[in-house]
Symmetry: C2
Subunit: 370 residues, 2 copies
């Protein structure tokens, strides 16, 4: 028996999460476990009514669960950033889910948009750092009228950047990214451990030739960590080049470890080469705490309630959740049932089919029950 | 008669620049102008011998030229960042080349790696801001042993990020990005002006939902600038989604305006969808100063001197240079001659051909001479 917190969220979130829960329950029947779901009403609707994003009490309560199954957040009535920072990033940070695990794998039966690339070419995992970098939310604005604010930071870049804030009429904004040695170390150790169970290759992504302060530290730690894993082949890459190689040579990759922001960018590209956002799952993992599993796509408000959303990303995220709980066989079973469903042609219109959201969930669940 | 500064640089830089100069000279014969080249010996070789990257005197001298024709820099014997920051970025910043103009266009005869996309689908221009953002080179490291350093910045993020630098044994690094209102305004105005001469569409790229300080300002300025260009249709996008659309729907784009770092990333992806780095040119433009034109690829040291490098990106950058100088007809003529050369099958091995670097330059020049 596992206790799992469920957060449907906004837009298509609740409907795709329903399919995910349906499939995980079916997997439980088949592989002999039970999931006890607790639903939490967190999202745009409540925020718009009450101004509440997520409370300290809720965070405390959820921290008692091993896992969260998450739909999606985002609503056209709320300014960009509010829900993302106030709910999604808030939970990633609060539960210290320092690994964002994103498999990039072309399932059998799915056509990649890349010429000549098949399932044998596209099968790697991105391990994205999930609690540091430019996601720490530190920054501000300087205006002439606010001269006293943060004097030292201002002096710092007036000197280096040659901007005279005192006399410039323009506004200037800054944003700070932070990496810590321990923050780099733990996510890299996770990536190397994973590689040791796969093809024993780790590629690191950074932009140390320009953002040399944060990514200089990143490279320093990478070389320490690789020293502890002599059986793993490594490569240091720049983020700009990585976007090219994802398109040209995805078969080069096994495990990719990346700082937070570049991870955000390259995993969306990864989702596309594996057939689209409707197919891309993610896990926000704290190996010794509360972890959260979600499709990497957003809430697609315009499709809400139409029953056309593709639930595969969410169902696959459910497989990652089962794997995290130690139900490895069930996790594999779910992914096989997804592939079976695609083979049977029960797919939504983003994949060229005519199935509804619930048809897909029903079919995956039926295949699991056998 | 135009005076142009030529910097071959490192690796394959000098050989591809030779082809570019050859073609521009041929264009001069055909369209009735002369280019007076002045070569500058700037690059890794000199740096390794003398420790000099680029001197203030050189910068001063080059600032007297309307344009620089640049090969590439980068050498395996020099630590990443030194040459990039000390030469390439130094010149972009010193000459205030605030527009990095990168056409993403699939030439006729080139196969895109994207299924079902042809020249009619891939034809847009990225206008990358080139002097601000995370490229300002501000950052540092905190160690326990350096407690006095930058007290206020440290306090700033100890509070917000919850890091106790005093007692943490780990090292922490930070990196600061800066955007100014005027910096955003001028590059956006350039993008809208360009769109008015094209399909009248501008997409802005940012990550305002997370890096809301710098990209909040970016969006604020964007909405002011779009107000001054009522005939142009606009779209605000997030950088992660943009990487997907470049792959799935490149035909959506006309002009893309982006902050510096995201521009770096998406233009490498753009280079790939237009057939590879061997084909992607860039211009670093100060509309009223000294502008610099270069292939967007690096110095590929392992191919140096082999005569196998593809000079098309450099030759195309030469076309951008001519366009900048006001020789619009000649610029178009060069691009047509490149397409003619591809049609004639005179291409290097990255494009599946057997031609040498100089064969390609000779053929483009011959087509131009007619
Ligand atoms: C919604 C947004 C804050 C989020 C991110 O940037 O991490 C999303 O893009 C993702 O990748 O999960
Ligand atoms: C070499 C590097 C500093 C440069 C950049 O990041 O701008 C390059 O990638 C480019 O895009 O011109």
């Amino acid at each position: 028996m596992y206790r799992v917190a469920a957060i449907g969220g906004d837009g298509i979130g609740p409907e795709i999460l329903d399919e995910g829960k349906k499939v995980l329950d079916a997997a439980g029947e088949r592989y002999g476990f039970d999931i006890d779901w607790t639903d939490f009403d967190i999202g745009a609707e409540r925020y718009l009514e009450t101004g509440v994003l997520v409370t300290e009490e809720e965070l405390k309560e959820i921290s008692g669960y091993p896992a969260i199954y998450f739909g999606s957040i985002g609503d056209e009535r709320v300014k960009p950033g509010i829900l993302e920072k106030g709910i999604l990033l808030k939970m990633r940070f609060s539960f210290d889910e320092y690994v964002n695990l994103r498999p990039i794998r072309l399932l059998h039966g799915i056509q990649s948009p890349l010429v000549g690339k098949g399932p044998e070419d596209i099968d790697f995992v991105v391990v994205r750092e999930n609690t540091e970098d430019f996601y720490v939310g530190i920054g501000s604005r300087f205006r002439q009228s606010e001269k006293k604010e943060l004097e030292v930071v201002r002096d710092l870049y007036s000197v280096k950047f040659g901007l005279d804030v005192e006399s410039d009429a323009e506004e200037i904004a800054y944003q700070i990214g932070v990496l810590s040695r321990e923050g780099c170390r733990r996510v890299m150790e996770y990536a190397f451990d994973l590689a040791e169970r796969r093809q024993r290759r780790v590629a690191s992504v950074d932009k140390a030739n320009v953002l040399s302060d944060v990514y200089g530290l990143w490279r320093e730690v990478f070389s320490e960590v690789e020293g502890r894993h002599p059986g793993v082949a490594t490569e240091l890459t720049f983020v700009d080049a990585v976007t090219m190689w994802f398109v040209k040579n995805p078969e080069w990759f096994d495990v990719v470890v990346t700082p937070n922001m570049f991870g955000d960018i390259v995993t969306d590209l990864g989702a596309m080469i594996q057939g689209g956002l409707g197919l891309a799952p993610g896990g926000n993992i704290n190996p010794t705490g509360t972890s959260m599993f979600e499709p990497i796509h957003g809430s697609a408000p315009k499709y809400r309630g139409l029953g056309v959303a593709n639930p595969i990303a969410t169902i696959w995220a459910g497989a990652l959740l089962l794997d995290y709980l130690g139900e490895h066989e069930a996790a594999e079973g779910v992914v096989e049932a997804i592939e079976g469903t695609i083979r049977d042609g029960v797919v939504t219109r983003d994949l060229g089919g005519a199935a509804k959201t619930a048809d897909v969930g029903d079919h995956v669940a039926a295949l699991l029950r056998g």
